[in-house]
Structure formats: C-alpha cells, structure tokens
Amino acid sequence: MNIRKTLATLGISALVGLSAAQAVAAGTIKIGSFLAVTGPAAFLGDPELKTLQMYIDEINTKGGVNGMQLELVHYDTGGKAKEAVGFAKRLIKKDRVDVIVGGSTSGSTLAVIPLVEKDRIPFISLAGSVKIIDPVKKWVFKVPHTDRMAAAKIFEDMKKRGIKRIALISGSGGFGKSGRSQVLALAPEQGIEVVSDESYGAKDTDMTAQLTKIRNTDAQAILCFGFGTGPAIVTKNVRQLGIELPLYQSHGVASKKFIELAGAAAEGVRLPASALLVADKLPASDPQKGLLLAYKQRFESKYGPVSTFGGHAYDGLMITVRAIERAGGTDKAKVRDEIEKTRGFIGTGGIFNMSPTDHLGLDLSAFKMLEIKHGDWTIVE
C-alpha cells in the first residue's frame, strides 16, 4: 500500500483521492477482475482469486507475456450485481485495465455486460448462465459450462436409467432460478416430465416441507439446482425422510465441501462436473489429464481441496494470455479478435473451440457425469 492510498483511505478528504495521479507503469498488462470473494458465492470467488494470483505470479517470474509483466487489479463484489457494476466501472475508468477476467456469478456478469459492450473491453466471464453468451455479445466470452449444458447432461443420464418423471427443487438465487428455467425449457424436448417444481431460499435451514410434497408425487428422481448450503441440506433431508429416489445435483456443488457437509447422505448423489474433480481417475490417453493433475497439485499444495470453480479462472486467464501473445500487444480490438479465434485450447473445463457464433466453445463432452461413492467422486460410465 503506497502513501497515496493510505491517505485516501483515511477518508478525511475525497479530494486527496481526486487529485491523485493515475499512474500506469509502462510495460505492464493490466488484468482487471471483480469476483465474489466474500458473501454467499464466496466458494466461487475465493478459489478464482487464488488461482488468478497464483498463475499471474508464475507467469511474471517466468518473464511475463511478450516481455511485459502482468498486473492483477481485483475487487470483491460480495456477489452483488450493483457492486459489480461499480467495480467494473472502476476497472475500466480508473484503473484502465486492458482486459477483464471475472464475474463469479451470472447476476454480476449480466449486470456489467451493457457497460463492457459500450466501453469495448474484452471480458471473459467465469459465470454459468447461458444468457451470457446467448445471444452472442461482441466483447463478452465465458469459460464455465452453461446451466443448459448441465441440464442436458443430467437428462442424458436420466434417460439411460429410464427416468421419465422428475421432481425439481431449486434455490431462489440467480443460479438456481436460471438452472430451473433451463430444466423446464429443456425437459419437454428430452421427453422428461417435471411433476413437481419446488424452491427454497438461499438461507433456508430445512427443506423437509418441500421434500415431503415431492415424496407424495410419482417422480422417479429428484433434481436439485443450487449452490451453497441449500443442496447439502436438501441431500440430508432426502435421507432423513427416507426417500429412496435417485438424487441429482447440479455442477454448483462440484467441490469437496459438498461431500463434507452432506456426509453419508451424499452417497449415490450424481452430478455433472468438469473432469478436474476426477483428474487422477481419467485414462492416461485423456488430453486434459496432464494439465488437470498439474493444476490440482499446484492448487492443493497451496490452498487445500481443489474445486472446478478455480479452474474456470485458470481457463479464463490462460485464454486471455494466449490471445495477448497472438495479438502482440494489448490493443483491445485485436485481443478480442484473438480470444474469439481460440481453438483447441486445453483448459480445466474441457477443450475450447471458440468462434464468432460461439463465445464459450465447449460441448457436452466437456462434462463428466459423476457419482459420489465412499465419500469420493467416481466417473459414471
């Protein structure tokens, strides 16, 4: 912290901050980020920030990108859309970053899209909703699988097991709501009937009322779309009520924390997730295996159990870095064009092939269907 910042922070005079010069060190590439490092979505933003910091440090010690050092400017949105807009403005107008990699939640990403489009700055989002890239926006990309893909992957597995009628329970936050609408939209064309559609609040502590209702329907499986404590409580409540139906969760719970919280009740739960969680169980021929093991090992040696969310930050950062290398500089339009030309990039989420009509570049094969067995992830064949 330099003296200017300290003075400004003492908060006695805003003018101190006003008159401060906007120092931009020559020869650095500024990567801006706004993440939900605290708040209900902290389990997304926290590993994302750690990943960004870890890899930017590494790139810098290896000499940077095109001979220039990377500088990370990041803010914590607490998962709130309004904060995200404020910080995105700050990144663009005060910090004058070259590119933005961030936006842990779909709400915060969607909120900054008008701004990013207007100010023409390449933006790689780390959030899930399909609305971010559909319709395609010129300056906006994303790296995590969409909620529509998650729903499709789950339906694919359900059909293999002959499940035709399902009960849906979703969180009332952005992730759950968005997932719910994708499930409801996709179900008819997949020949699946949603016989019960329940929801719970983000901080609810007991879902037995909703699940009791579900128990009295003729559903053949339960699908829970949400993140945080909700899905873990749903899982425990299902077990408590003695419901024997197969339970599916979304990719929102793809971290060891879910197994830890739900405990024995998590046995047999299935969910779609990227291959990162099962890196060591992949066949040696898998093109992603080497990278996944390396990322996992690096993250875990420093911070503890890996989640797929930090992996998204790796993908976003590396796609950006490659694009800057190819563009030979930080010209925003050139970097944007190069991001769009990303082909065959092996990331933690899958192999990315972006195009002017696809600003994600992943297909269903990037998802693995996992089942929790003996407190660990296994791949469902």
């Binding site: 922070t9 908060g11 805003a14 008008p114 952005g174 709501k177």
Partner: protein, 332 residues
C-alpha cells in the same frame, strides 16, 4: 435568502467539481452514485428526520420505480419519461394505500412493518420472473434523452443526476419551511400535542410518506436508465439499511445532512476497498464509532462543533447551543 444559502453552495460545488477534475473517476462515476443516493436520502429524511417515522424498507419504493421503468420500456416499448411517470404513479398509489395501516405503528413495530414490506417486494421481484427477469435481472433498458440530448456519457449523467438532486433538495427545503413542514415537525415532537393543535396527523403522515416514496421512485427510474440493467439485489433490505444509515449519519432533520451522509457512505466503501478482507470489519467499526460519539450525526455534529468554536472566539463565556437534530424519539 438565508435558507437557500446552503443550496447555492451545493450548486457551486456541483458545477466546479467537473471543471477542476474532468474525466476523474471519483467525479464522473462515484459522485453520480452519491447524487442518486442523496435523492433517496433527502426523501427518506423528510420521513425520518422531520416526521420521526422510521422506514427500513425504503429500497422497495426505489425498486418499484426502477422496475416499472425497466419493464414498461423494454416490454411495452413506452418512452422513458412516460415510464418514469408510470413508476411514480404506481409507487405513489402503493404508498398511499399502505400509509394508513403502516403509519399507525410506532417505533420498532413501524421499523418491522416497513422492513417486512421491503422484503415482500424483494421476493415478488425475484419470483415473478416472466415480468422482472428474476434474480438474473432485466437488461436492455434504453438510455434517457432530453429534447434530443442523449444522456449516454458519464459526464452527462453527472449533470442530469446532480440537477435532479439539486431540484429535490430545493423541494425538500420548501416543504420543510411550508405550513405542512411545520406540521411535520410538530408531529415529530409529540403526535398527541400536534393533534391538540388541530393538525390532522393522519393526512400529514400519509402526505410525507407518499412524497418520500415518490422521490425514491424517481431515483429508481433514473437508476434503471443509467445502469441499463437492474436486478433485485440492488433493492434489498441491506440497501434500505444503507439509506437509513445515510440519513442518520448525516444528521436527522437536516436536508444537507442527508446529502452529506449520502456522499460519505458512497465514497467510504470506495476508499475502504483496498483493505480487502478487512473492509467489512472496518466499515462496521466506523459506523459504530460515529454513532456512539456523534449520535446527532456527522454533518450536524461537525456544524455545531464549528459554531461553538466560532462563538467561543467571539465571546469568552459561551452560551449553550441547542443542536438542531437533538429531539429524542419516543421509543414506545
């Protein structure tokens, strides 16, 4: 003229800032939010500071205004100004209908009722996805234009938002000095006494509640067009609390106090950002300390301190000064 001196000073400041610091982030971005917050705080201050009615749900009216503007312009293609009027009409009606039962309540019960109202509106915004877009929000809200002058840059928003803020401040000052303003203050002192004096307290209370709601709705519409995107979490319980804090922090029953509080609470988090994980703790501590040591508010407290110092310089034996916002509220 004396009562408008503050308004002139504020206007001068608003005009000078962008001239001194053109294209500065704190002026063209943060100050615009601060001006928006000031509109909200000045309206809320009429309710809280002058009429003594606590509201922990003010963000609801802000949200209804914003969503009416957003929905009417994006889904029904209405022009922004009519949308703004529609928002104010809707908010005003809701406030009018809710005023009578809600304003019968006192102290913490009133706090709870307004808080509940805010939460109900928040849940409805989240659940009626077909209309509001749910928690993912509502995008594509068109920009405002004024006689062909498109409000599309930060500087233009600065001008528009500051102008509206000055207008609202001017209106608030006029209301306070009017007959109904005096009725309001009487109400704050003691409701029973006010009734004895022949003031129709129900009408006065309803009136100020509606005015506060209308100004919040106006701010909401401006916010929707400025951001081009709105989502329910901008209008939640925490934002209501933030608004109350602005009013109290500035100093209750002082319009400029509310403006000051809005600016302090908008700039403070911007400055605390660099503390990262410590930010939450420091913010809470600052809030507590300010309220413990300056319970009459920062603006009013500093102003009184200044007056006292000036007086001490003039006369060796200082006369006790009665601070403006010292009235105690009945807790019962």
């Amino acid at each position: 003229m004396k009562r408008l001196r503050g308004l002139f000073l504020l206007t001068l400041l608003v005009v000078i800032l962008p001239l001194l610091f053109p294209d500065n982030y704190y002026v063209t971005v943060v100050a615009v939010s601060a001006a928006l917050h000031a509109i909200l705080a000045v309206g809320l201050n009429l309710l809280m500071g002058y009429a003594g009615l606590i509201s922990l749900g003010h963000a609801a009216f802000f949200g209804i205004g914003a969503y009416t503007s957003g929905i009417v312009t994006t889904r029904f293609g209405l022009d922004p100004w009519s949308a703004m009027a529609a928002g104010m009409l809707l908010t005003g009606t809701i406030a009018f209908v809710m005023a009578r039962p809600i304003l019968r309540l006192k102290g913490h019960y009133l706090a709870m009722a307004t808080l509940g109202l805010g939460i109900i509106v928040q849940i409805v915004l989240v659940q009626t996805e077909e209309l509001t877009g749910g928690p993912d929000g509502l995008g594509g809200i068109p920009p405002l234009s004024l006689f062909g002058w498109e409000v599309d840059s930060d500087l233009r928003w600065y001008m528009l938002m500051s102008a509206v803020m000055l207008l609202v401040v001017w209106l608030a000052l006029n209301i306070i000095d009017s007959r109904s303003g005096r009725a309001l203050r009487a109400l704050h002192g003691s409701e029973v006494a006010a009734e004895m004096m022949g003031i129709d307290t129900t009408v006065t209370k309803t009136g100020v509640f509606v005015v506060a709601a209308l100004s919040a709705s106006l701010a909401g519409s401006l916010f929707a067009h400025q951001q081009a995107f709105i989502s329910p979490d901008s209008f939640n319980f925490f934002f209501s609390i933030e608004l109350v804090t602005m009013v109290v922090l500035g100093g209750m029953a002082s319009t400029f106090g509310a403006v000051f509080g809005a600016f302090v609470l908008t700039f403070l988090p911007e400055l605390l950002v660099i503390f990262e994980d410590y930010e939450v703790m420091i913010f809470g501590a600052i809030l507590m300390l300010m309220m413990i040591f300056l319970p009459q508010g920062l603006f009013v407290g500093l102003r009184d301190l200044l007056r006292r110092l000036l007086q001490q310089q003039r006369a060796p034996a200082p006369a006790p000064v009665v601070p403006a916002g010292e009235d105690k509220h009945d807790a019962a």
